[in-house]
Amino acid sequence: MFELISPLFLSLVVGGTFIGIVFGAIPGMTATMAVAVCLPITYSLGLENGLALLLGLYVGGISGGLVPAILLGIPGTPSSITTTFDGFPLAQRGEGEKALRIGIVASFVGGLISLLVLWLFAPALADFAIKFSYVEKFLIILFALTVMAALSRDMLIGIFSGVLGIFIALIGTYDISDGGNGRYRLIPPGTEYWLDSGFSLLPVLIGLFGLAAILEQAERGVPKGHSKEDLKVGGKSTFSFSIFRGQTLNLIRSSGIGTFVGILPGVGGSAASILAYSNAKTFSKKPEAFGKGEPSGIIASESGNNGLTGGALVPLLSLGIPGDSTTALLIGAFTLQGIQVGPLFIGNNPDTWNAMIFAMLVANIAMLMMMYVAIRYFALVVTVPKHILFPVILMMCVIGAYTINYGIMFDVWTLLIFGIAGWVFVKLRLEVAPFIIGFILGPSAEVYFVKSLESFGTLGIFFTKSWIAMVLWVLIIGSVAGSVLLSRRQAARDRAAG
């Protein structure tokens, strides 16, 4: 492993973390966008160095969101929504710097706890998953899709979005290398030349997370940037680690919630921080202080959303199922280097696995050091004008889409198609995360389903193959039933509230 960790490797982690923080700190830009924009740069870096950059971007991007959340009351990334609840009131009282440092330390702890879970849990899960046949693999994908849909704002729309993603992913040839018959399907007449292999994953992702985000900003008139005067960094009271006295349980619980939410496929950081925050409020001795500048709220929110980082990598590296939209993009980095992620990944690539763990550790330490020491300077990032940033990002999106398959112009058009689709999805209230997971897992789901039927000749095999299959069905039914129950309770509560 140590021969992989070169000065270049370390520089890429630290540089990636820095760029990630910058992206996260600018409202309207996310960790996912940072990874999407920088993905083509990983081409010539090799797998480990490329992952070093991307993991740094991921950790930095999630962490950077706390800057505008605290100083402006605007979450830099969706995962920082709950940080605004207590961070902004503190900043308004002239304690912005203190609030920022509370968030930074909590982010660091959340990141480390989730990293520990990743390190311990992913190899064990992968070892277990190696025993899975096509039947269990198909059921795992079905389970992932139902969990994701169940946790969507609207389960029916969530399932529809996921199935739509699968449907779009099936466009193209039934690949011979996957055991298919090499025939076209779902291709409109006259488009065979372009859609022979369907839509490429990365242009689709860059379109949905890069171009669509900029279209959304354009629709809202590209809100003006903020001036230095808007930033309430303050200096009234100084940060002290004594603030964390009595917060151990909150830190561990919130990081654990974030990690668990990360493990669930397609559930984003906003769910992690909201769950962690509401739990911290429920178990607090002074819940009435939440929302008025309570440090426990910032600690819960930030340790929760950074807990996501390691958690989301668990299903990716052990099952090949991305835990969130950013880790979905990491699949692209593996694909670029010709590596398939799944149960065999860790066993076959122990050096890469160790390098990833080390990169995550360095990224968390770099994030803590950079943000803790230079938070006043990072805060200024919020003032960078969007009329300079957005055109450059658009250009980088084009580069990313074009170079992904070594220069195919159709991939650039795919970027535009899915950029517009991403904007329309938001307007139609379709869910992007289930769509993406469906799009990524669709072709595998097809292979596992069809090959299972070809081998066993009966649909009953999906229920009777093994005890694992039965347990997975219980989980699938449980996730759907749980979601229906929760939504009914919510509806009853809404009715009661008038």
Binding site: I41, Y43, S44, L156, I157, I159, F160, V163, L164, I166, F167, L170, T173, Y174, G180, N181, R183, Y184, R185, L186, L211, I214, L215, A218, E219, R220, G221, V222, K224, P385, K386, H387, I388, F390, P391, V392, L394, M395, V398, I399, Y402, T403, Y406, G407, M409, V412, W413, L416, I420, K427, A445, E446, F449, V450, L453, E454, G457, T458, L459, G460
Partner: protein, 139 residues
């Protein structure tokens, strides 16, 4: 029971098995959504009118138009100097400048000059990075 669940897949038609199942599920879900949300869907006209009324049409459609123009011109311009990536370079500069001006709120000479510097330096740097160290030919 076994005969009810048994299935034989003809390899020659196996490419249609999964897309058909997914298509049927998708259609059923669509019907379920249409039935459940019929009132909301019936009021979609008002919703879209509101979206259009609140939209910054110049910036939104300007972005779409400029992006479409950018993508359309890149290859024809690149074909003038084949395999050099100059199509990307010479199209990206005006694109970055035009989008930047579109997104700028108070347009001043100072801001425009700063943007112009970025519009030249950004694409040149990216073009150099991909052409020389990365050996990837741009359009």
């Amino acid at each position: 029971m076994d005969s009810l669940t048994s299935i034989t897949i003809d390899f020659e038609r196996s490419h249609l098995v999964f897309p058909r199942i997914v298509g049927v599920v998708l259609f059923d879900l669509l019907v379920a959504i249409l039935i459940r949300d019929r009132r909301r869907i019936a009021g979609a006209g008002t919703y879209w009118r509101d979206v259009m009324a609140e939209m910054d049409k110049v910036r939104f459609f300007g972005t779409l138009g400029l992006t479409l123009l950018y993508f359309s011109l890149m290859v024809p311009v690149g074909n003038i100097w084949p395999n050099t990536g100059r199509g990307f370079l010479f199209c990206s500069m005006p694109f970055v400048m035009a989008i930047g001006l579109l997104y700028m709120h108070e347009r001043t000479v100072r801001k425009a000059v700063a943007l112009a510097v970025v519009a030249v330096v950004g694409p040149v740097f990216v073009w150099w990075l991909f052409t020389y160290p990365f050996f990837l030919t741009l359009p």
